[in-house]
Symmetry: C2
Subunit: 418 residues, 2 copies
């Protein structure tokens, strides 16, 4: 069978399954999620065996140890995947929720009801735990999912998919609820992205180049984030002890994540007092400092930051530092170099805090806290399928709710329009 | 100056103005809207003169009388446009509204605040009243707008734009808040649709072919609706007197609109009782009936409806009629032929009503009322910029709220992540 027919068949099965899944009760969906969790444990040997094969091939290809670490599964990780499915079963079902309802003068009741999207396509890197996670979230949100993981994880993904499929079969759900593209042919993605009649949303996860390629090619709406160049701005009215803790945390606690601080902005009035101590502490923690000329005057011996530094998402123990002349200078720098992800101000000035919240154009805007909190669980949304820096539909961490749409419902007793 | 430079300049001015407009108070925005309303009246002679030119050219080109009617402005219509701007000034400002806010166990306050989209592009047919309407709505929603109206209305649009610009100037708003593409070169639209770094959303309004062309070409997210094939399903448990009134209204009250009924579905158990009377009444009102074979048995002498009829948005006094064997048959027909716009059931059966609401995949789902209510004003949203049958971001009538996005705001007192 040709690749095109194959992809088309999957899309059709997903669409057809989505019509069933959209009308299923929360209880039945939760039961299915529990069986999925169970099957992952039951089939853990198969999964680990397939994963060993993936890891062996990836090592042979000379992948980095960070890459291998994300790829590798063991019993603990599978147990975590299984538990995450149970957590999703425990989340409130967004489908059918009445968002609001109001009465019109003619007696019509008009309201908004949350509804499933239909079919969601997820294109992601070689992280097999994402397979069960995304399958579980889309399933609970009432949508069929088409998964396409990185080619290096294909054997692991196939075994995980088999476990999820077998759970669906055990409780009489159509297997089209969860679909995996089981070829590493890149053409499969291109084909998928043309099927706007069958797929309602594409979420790409991974490196910027992958995401740009998907966004450029897709005929289907895409929600995504390219990168996170997150700033922490220490204002002249900051509590400097707090600023130090927050900035240190934002940079060092997990530098490889998109919500880690990449650039520290400091008001010139407090730079001399604030910078030497925090920079020394960061240096001791292994952070390479790249500062503006003014920073270098206060804290000599560092590399001078270029415009390229300010536009780079390091994802590493490297930090750009810039001293700004005033609050407006910080706003301007963020408007120029920010990526609409997460931006923070540290200040005890009420007006400035409020102006920062209102003015900064980003998915998440912080006062007096670490940008590292940009995360579905930390926000209290439950698990997330990713983070959006887009402006339409969903912004920030995308939880269950963001995987749904709504419909207007109108209830009358014979109203006609005059 | 080349067209490309020209479009780029407009996009840059819009982007820059949007940064200003996003932070402006409701009072100042409302003041500007009042001045816009005033300027339209002050410049009404200029507008009418330019409109006469447009109308003359359109007649020469042999445009239909319906087309000319939409194009034509007179003092009354300009007064209406002016009043509509005042109504928009009277609507609640969505920007800065806190949608919700909650407290996390660590004391962080996490919330969602409504925020402007940035720059909105609107591509529409030759209806000059849309120019001021869309300008006003986007302006109130805190976004700069780039307007591109049909070429036949270009002289009218330029004069309306001048009036709006002069109002902006009078209250010191950057003129980039409202922009008009003042050439009828079609290439201008193609160029506009590539500027994803400057424009956040495109809303095309008009015929299906225009909208498909925009959606296909655009590198910017598009919200739209192609067409409205709206069904009214008369269930076996319907109040038939109510069904008659609602169906008659949905078809006849204004057949040229996208929310008018195009197809009447009737449960076979009530078809003999219901159909002759309603079809006779519709016929008397000038409606051409195209029915299924079963319908023709009950009400002979009609044209037999084909699959093509069931897929056609007549926008005219023509109606498809189909008798279905059961409730599921109606759901199936709507799933196959519906356009996700507005669908209604007439029934006194509670379970069926609820199932209809839950199952039907459409922007607006009705129980016991005419689909003609799908409209921003009728829903109580205030003026609308159009109707969306998309699933992402906004569905149904798009009012002020749907022209905004949100951001997460996080307020702490030094929280760090562990």
């Amino acid at each position: 069978m040709s690749l095109k027919n194959d992809i088309m068949r999957i899309a059709k099965e997903a669409k057809s399954a989505s019509l069933f899944l959209g009308g299923v009760s929360s209880q039945l969906k939760n039961k299915a999620l529990q069986l999925m969790a169970e099957e992952l444990i039951r089939k853990k040997e198969d999964i680990i065996r397939a994963n060993r094969k993936d890891v062996r091939l990836a090592k042979k290809e000379g992948k980095t140890s960070a890459f291998i670490d994300r790829l590798k599964l063991n019993e603990d990780r599978i147990r975590k995947m299984s538990q995450d499915l149970l957590s999703i079963a425990g989340l409130a079902d967004p489908v059918g929720e009445m968002i609001k309802i109001w009465r019109r003068p003619n007696g019509l009741m008009v309201g908004k009801m949350r509804a499933p999207l239909g079919v969601i396509g997820i294109i992601y890197e070689s992280r097999p735990d994402v397979t069960s996670d995304c399958a579980g979230l889309c399933f609970k949100a009432g949508s069929a999912v088409i998964l396409r993981g990185g080619r290096e994880s294909i054997n692991s993904n196939i075994e995980i998919y088999k476990a999820l499929s077998s759970a669906l079969q055990r409780c009489d759900f159509p297997k089209g609820c969860v679909n995996l593209i089981q070829t590493d042919d890149r053409e499969a993605v291109s084909l998928l992205l043309t099927l706007s009649g069958f797929i309602d949303l594409i979420i790409p996860r991974g490196g910027e180049s992958l995401i740009r390629e998907v966004a450029d090619k897709s005929k289907i709406p895409v929600i995504k984030h390219y990168k996170g160049i997150c700033h922490t701005y220490v204002d002249e009215y900051a509590d400097l002890a707090m600023a130090e803790e927050v900035a240190f945390n934002a940079k060092v606690q997990r530098p490889s994540t998109c919500n880690a601080m990449e650039c520290l902005l400091v008001h010139k009035a407090v730079a001399k007092q604030f910078l030497p101590k925090i920079l020394e502490r960061l240096k001791k923690a292994g952070v390479e400092i790249r500062g503006c000329l003014e920073t270098a005057k206060i804290y000599p011996g560092i590399k001078i930051a270029t415009a390229k530094d300010f536009s780079t998402e390091y994802l590493d123990l490297i930090l750009s530092v810039k001293i700004v002349n005033n609050f407006e200078g910080a706003l301007k720098h963020i408007a120029e170099f920010g990526t609409k992800h997460s931006e923070a101000i540290i200040s005890n000035d009420f007006q400035r805090g409020m102006k920062f919240l209102k003015t900064i154009d980003a998915a998440c805007v912080y006062i007096n806290a670490s940008t590292r909190f940009t995360d579905g669980n930390e926000f209290g949304l439950g698990a997330e399928v990713g983070i959006s820096t887009d402006k339409l539909h969903a912004r920030g961490p995308m939880g269950l709710e963001d995987l749904t749409t709504y419909k207007y419902i109108v209830i009358g007793n014979g109203q006609t329009r005059t």
